[in-house]
Symmetry: D2
Subunit: 202 residues, 4 copies
């Protein structure tokens, strides 16, 4: 059994993106007997779709867990809803802007609900002293885009669970941008590890 | 030589205030040969003044360092200015509200500038991966009140340095209040320890 | 043809809720030949459902437009998605808290997309100098609850459009709560009037 | 008797700055028999100082009232304290950054307190439905810089009152930046007019 764990590459001039760092850190590790494939996704609509369609086809994961950076978030957010919508005035790293409200897959449902135990994860994180909450909107930019693509493909295949986690900035990366909430990098890593343990049933 | 380190008691229904916890944690410790007296101050205009006037008179500290909770702060804030003003629509724990803009000491300067190396502290904290910044306003509620009282009394005595540090919430205390930025309690403790080492010259 | 326009009653100790005020202000008015029924909804899960089910059955509106207060919003938000989920740690005015993630209608779709011209409304408001944006999450508290109920019932009947608008606070109501963004009440009224004109085709 | 009213030019790529627009709008007007000189200041440390020193010398104003934009502010903020400190990592429009904490005038007091009736102005604005509050920190960038320079020069001359008002963005200027609080431009104008009437005693 294989877990596909993705984060994102740095974007918009930032040097490091903790979501991608964490995905790479877990790459090759095993948790509860399941092998983790950790990948850093490019911040590009076109390439995210290509990479995810290819990886999900090849790897046939029993679990997709996406990680994304929410720079203004104060806590670990467990996303409940993947929305079949892409829309943002912000360009991706290819310079593409999705300024019309569009469907990601024309034949997809308007929304999918996560199949990981979201509420239980929140409770476990809080029990460890890590701030966490449910979130019902992953936005309409690249995080939701990756989440929806994975959810749609796995649902169509009929097996494989899917979830998405937004994390705040890592304290070590924001020391000079004083208005961004953050948690230390090792706390973010611990949070994702705990999420994986809860999902994989230990 | 004695360091007077103060934090505040919990207020407004909160169970724990990390600033007071930290002050108590350092009580009796020694750093660079200086003994630390760590005190938790009541959230009361009247009692803060009484306690500080008495302590500073008795202890004759070579350094006053106040710690206060800034629940919406995302980083460690090194306060530069103590203002001779008290004003807040928020009641203290005795129910007293200071809704007129008033001086704290009629004969005091309008403002004092901290005598701890604020910029160097910020740099040292950032070097350790702890988000930090200078702040030029400690508010006009009890944090600035304690800071100004200590600065005024020490300046009048002609010896003793004075500084004030605002800290964000401790992650462990806010797990259910998801909109408050926070840092783990042990990071806050490490920050204050580092501040003390920088000031006390090691 | 009849338009059903709803806002909410004050809650949580506030004296006035601009969303309910506006709904009552438009009650009985005509816009483009359509008569407006403006109702203030109670801040109660049970009563919102009762009132809306009854009203939609009786009135058979050609348009449902809900208005809700988003106290931290800085602009008029045109909601795009109604979610079949209720979840909040905040109690309603009956003291009921929905702390389990639940469906609003067991047999409803997970999400409905608004049938009012959301993007065109945003453009028209901005052209009038009124800050506006699309929003893809109406939350999981009473605003989304009302929106989803109306969308579900109208979709099932097969006629009647549905939309929801979040408004910021009215400046006149927040003069002492200085941290809340706001727009003057007459600007909020003008915004809703403009929304109605855009939808009703003039 | 002459009133010197200043705002700032646009900066950082913005097209219009409401503070400068308002200063120009009042230029040449009379209020309570006092002639208003309204000037738009450049966003430059060097030029602000030059312009203000020259203007205050020539005009000998009975009142200096500065207006500045506080893009994240939700209300009209009446500044109480001018601080003898300049410090910001943000460059001005000449590319100058003041990254060392420095005094504005080596021989100035650390702080001056405004001599306009700040609390009464807040009350009057609120009475008109305009959100307003006292503020005890005008920052350490160009707004405080202009405020301190004027306060210092007028205090030294021994006549002329001084005050500073921070305003939020104008709604008309932020229609596409949806996260910025704002008030309509005409409300901002009305607020400044009211401030002038309160100060000039009508």
């Amino acid at each position: 059994m294989t877990v596909l764990l993705t984060g994102f590459a740095p974007f918009g001039g930032m040097k490091k993106n903790p979501s991608g760092e964490i995905a790479r850190l877990f790459n090759g590790k095993e948790i509860n007997g399941e092998r983790i494939i950790g990948k850093e996704l490019p911040v590009s609509y076109r390439r995210v779709r290509e990479v995810l369609e290819k990886l999900i086809d090849e790897v046939n994961p029993s679990l997709y867990l996406g990680i994304g950076l929410a720079p203004r978030s104060t806590c670990i957010r467990i996303e409940v809803i993947a929305l079949n919508i892409v829309y943002s005035e912000r360009p991706d790293e290819d310079g593409v802007r999705q300024t019309d409200v569009s469907y990601i897959y024309e034949d997809g449902d308007l929304a999918y609900i996560t199949t990981i135990p979201a509420k239980r994860i929140v409770n476990e994180l809080r029990r460890s002293g890590i701030p966490a909450s449910l979130s019902f909107s992953a936005g309409t930019y690249l995080c939701n885009y990756a989440f929806y693509i994975a959810a749609h493909l796995l649902k169509r295949k009929g097996n494989g669970r899917y979830g998405f986690i937004h994390i705040p900035q890592a304290s070590e990366y924001v020391v000079s941008e004083v208005n961004t909430p953050s948690l230390p990098f090792n706390v973010l890593v611990k949070a994702i590890e705990k999420v994986l343990y809860v999902i994989l049933g230990s």
